[in-house]
Symmetry: C2
Subunit: 84 residues, 2 copies
């Protein structure tokens, strides 16, 4: 990928957020692609340090599980997930 680097946590917050943002869009895209081309159910959730939840679910069954057991419980304990 681009200029060769070691995969590790960047201690610079702004750089880390840029990297996360770029990679998140690719990861979500690939999750959607494998769900379609492989005809599988996929659930992908990322809790970022910037306090946001990124998710992709290919099917309703997984979506239900996510909402009932992950999103709602977290929403009750941590107000940050209510951010837009």
């Amino acid at each position: 990928m681009g200029r060769k680097i070691e995969i590790k946590k960047s201690e610079e917050t702004s750089k880390r957020q840029v990297t996360f943002s770029k990679r998140r869009s690719t990861l979500l895209k690939k999750a959607k692609e494998i769900a379609i081309s492989g005809d599988v159910d996929v659930l992908l959730v990322a809790f970022s340090t910037a306090q946001r939840l990124s998710k992709f679910c290919s099917k309703n069954r997984i979506e239900d599980i996510l909402q009932r057991y992950i999103e709602l419980p977290i929403a009750r304990k941590f107000s940050y997930v209510n951010k837009p």
Copy 2:
């Protein structure tokens, strides 16, 4: 990616499984990478038509949620997830 194609379900089972297998390893790798470089918690689950569960969890908290609310309930209802 390679020769240009449209992302859609392949009706040929063997071809679909090859594509899924290749893409799964890349997706798991990228999930691990974003967890490290972005310092985030990541959960990735794929239920394949070949009756297997592929997963990656970066942190224990998500691992617990996955085991308690997704893996165990499914194991009780669908024997196929007990396959190796």
